[in-house]
């Protein structure tokens, strides 16, 4: 395929996406569910790509995503809840005086500064998460694969325990969680509906640039063979630490977005199940494929929240109620699909390849030639 054709294709996709967003914005009430699914997908895509940076590109099996998301989410929520709502939110034990003072100070600042506060809040959350990652990375990253997984999972649980502990009542509102979090702010005068997509796009773009840089290549070398990577002069610890810190940074950004998306958060939201959900998105998309993770985030979220919904509804055909179809069946089907991917299509949607227009063209050509054989699985 010619380079110009590819440009046109990519441009067309971008234009269609933007047009779609404007259309959705014009029809907010009618398309409420679609909007919320797309926004959630975009947020999860950021976490999935960040997780892929670690698991797929650096070969570090980390399961601490939920913990880092909760840091981002809590800090964003605490910093953005308007002062007038504080008493309602912290109705049990009240808010810590220093925090109230800080927030009152923030609201007294000039309006241009206030317009970017939500973004600053997200970045602060992400920086705290990154700092925390840097700290725990020092001991944890020396561990081998499965020990690393269980240790990161452990830290994630510790963070959750801290956030929900009664000792933190005046800051995180303990086990009651935080609510009345303002929704997405608008950027560049665009409707606020665009914000999660813009933040997600910028985050993923930065991650892609990193993966394709010389540092990204070093990460891949570590994934392939640690001993050979060291023999190439790559400092294992420093590079693992970078990968871990950057991944945690963007995971926390996604956590901040999630807080604004859900409007209310509690420690329970960030349990191990959330990490598993994200891992499943990464696996279905293909470990080591950014486009795979992004596609998979949209497909998995849409199937879970929308396409497979009908499994949860009782289905009656000609007066006969089909058995099995009731609440919870959707998740069973979903987990079975996942097991099929894990066992039989270990490569996921994209393997470790990226989406290219050439790849798509080849796929369709193959589909046209041998329709019977090409049906088996997707090809990147």
């Amino acid at each position: 395929m010619k380079k110009s054709t590819k440009y046109v294709c990519s441009l067309a996709v971008a234009v269609i996406a933007v047009a779609l967003l404007f259309a959705l914005d014009a029809n907010k009430t009618g398309a409420g569910m679609l909007i919320s699914i797309l926004q959630k997908s975009a947020i999860l895509a950021v976490v999935a790509v960040s997780m892929n940076l670690l698991n797929g590109f650096t070969g570090l099996f980390s399961l601490g995503q939920a913990g880092f998301m909760s840091i981002g989410a809590y800090i964003t929520a605490i910093l953005t809840i308007p002062v007038k709502n504080l008493d309602g939110v912290y109705y049990m034990s009240g808010i810590a005086p220093w925090l109230r003072a800080l927030k009152e100070g923030m609201e007294a600042s000039p309006s241009w500064l206030q317009a970017i506060y939500p973004f600053l809040a997200m970045i602060v959350g992400a920086l705290v998460a990154a700092g925390f990652a840097a700290l725990i990375g020092i001991p944890v990253l020396r561990l081998k694969s499965d020990y690393l997984a269980i240790a990161t999972l452990g830290f994630s649980e510790i963070i959750r325990a801290i956030f929900s502990s009664p000792q933190m009542d005046q800051i995180t509102n303990g086990s009651y969680g935080l609510n009345k979090v303002p929704t997405f702010p608008s950027v560049f005068g665009l409707p606020s509906l665009f914000t999660p997509f813009i933040v997600a796009a910028v985050s993923i773009a930065l991650l892609v640039l990193l993966i394709n840089s010389t540092y990204g290549r070093a990460f891949k070398a570590i994934r392939e063979d640690e001993i050979a990577a060291e023999a190439m002069g790559i400092n294992l610890f420093r590079h693992k630490e970078w990968s871990f810190v950057i991944s945690s940074f963007f995971t926390a950004i996604a956590g901040g977005l999630l807080a604004m998306f859900m409007r209310s958060i509690e420690a329970k939201t960030f349990s191990i199940t959330l990490t598993y959900d994200i891992l499943l998105i990464v696996v279905i998309g293909g470990l080591g494929s950014v486009t795979g993770s992004v596609l998979s985030a949209f497909i998995v979220t849409a199937s879970k929240e929308w396409w497979l919904r009908f499994f949860d509804q009782p289905l009656i055909i000609g007066g006969w109620q089909v058995p099995l179809f009731r609440t919870g069946f959707r998740m069973v089907i979903f987990s079975l699909l996942l097991m099929i991917v894990v066992l039989f299509y270990r490569q996921g949607l994209m393997g470790n390849k990226e989406f290219t227009w050439d790849g798509l063209a080849r796929f369709f050509r193959k589909l046209g030639k041998k329709p019977a054989q090409a049906k088996g699985g997707a090809e990147g």
Binding site: N55, S145, L153, G154, A161, P166, T327, G328
Partner: protein, 293 residues
């Protein structure tokens, strides 16, 4: 806190620890042989809880117990056959993801079949009988759990150290490939490992849930992870280590709850794990292994 209260809590803790120890053995044995954290083990334990609920609904306890144990064994072995065996040559990360997938599937399946609402655990009347020793009082199950744990571990150690199967298991955990070359039927040995692990999880589940009275689809996750930590603490691959780890975690957790730090009791387990991994990654009784370059 008075001495009696402390002793009372210790007793509860030891009892909880006994149940943990039985589950931790399943982790440590599977890890010893497959180098796999069997994330689904906690869910097997949870399913054993549900099996008991349904079995006890119509069958007396003394038939239910062996029946539930058998059902749990079948579940455990079936999981190994379906989800782990096909991935034997795959990278370790794939098997781990498969294990997480199975645990996710069992949770969702349990939610679908039994709903997320806690289901009452049946009472085995004689286990709930209150006993008194001096000022201490507790139900029989509290006293029985540690005793039963020790007996089962003793039997298991005999099996591993003094039978042909046990020798084969030790050989496989030392060197997978060489034992295969020596004519050991790896698949059979792995199945036996899952049989033992699941049976102990079933018994652990009965002892654990009798004290807790209800089961939900998520009852297995945290105890499962804690028991894995117990196995790491004791030194992964070592059965006495898993037992000691189980008791330590059970006692400390109970004491933390008693002192009013219940939110931190889970966090403590993981803190213990991290401290252990940093200062003694091979655990209390683990053996050191070096990677060959």
């Amino acid at each position: 806190m008075s001495l009696t209260t402390i002793l009372q809590h210790c007793l509860t803790g030891i009892s909880l620890g006994g149940a943990y120890a039985l589950i931790a053995i399943g982790y440590t044995m599977v890890y010893g042989i497959l180098r796999l954290i069997n994330f689904a083990h906690g869910e097997i334990f949870m399913m054993a809880g549900y099996f008991m609920i349904f079995s006890m609904a119509s069958i007396p306890w003394f038939i239910s117990v062996p029946l539930v144990t058998a059902a749990t064994i079948i579940l455990g072995v079936a999981i190994e056959r379906a989800a782990y065996k096909p991935l034997r040559t795959a990278p370790r990360m794939s098997i781990m993801i498969s294990a997480i997938g199975v645990s996710y599937l069992l949770q969702n399946l349990a939610t679908y079949l039994f709903t997320a609402i806690p289901k009452g655990y049946p009472e085995i009347p004689f286990l709930k009988k209150i006993f008194r020793i001096g000022d201490l009082s507790a139900s029989l199950v509290t006293f029985l759990t540690p005793v039963l744990t020790i007996i089962l571990v003793f039997l298991l150690m005999q099996l591993i150290n003094h039978t042909k199967v046990g020798m084969a298991m030790r050989a496989v955990s030392k060197d997978f490939e060489t034992s295969r070359l020596m004519g050991i039927k790896i698949d059979t040995i792995i199945s036996i490992t899952f049989v033992i692990g699941s049976a102990l999880a079933a018994i652990g589940s009965i002892l654990y849930f009798t004290d807790r009275m209800s089961v939900t689809p998520f009852s297995g996750t945290l105890p499962g992870l804690k028991c894995f930590v117990a196995a790491v603490f004791g030194g992964i691959g070592s059965i006495p280590g898993a037992v000691v780890g189980g008791f330590v975690i059970g006692v400390v957790e109970t004491l933390l709850v008693a002192m009013g730090y219940s939110t931190f009791s889970d966090a403590f387990t993981f803190l213990l794990l991290i401290v252990m991994l940093l200062f003694r990654p091979t655990g209390l009784f683990g053996e050191k292994s070096t990677d060959k370059v």
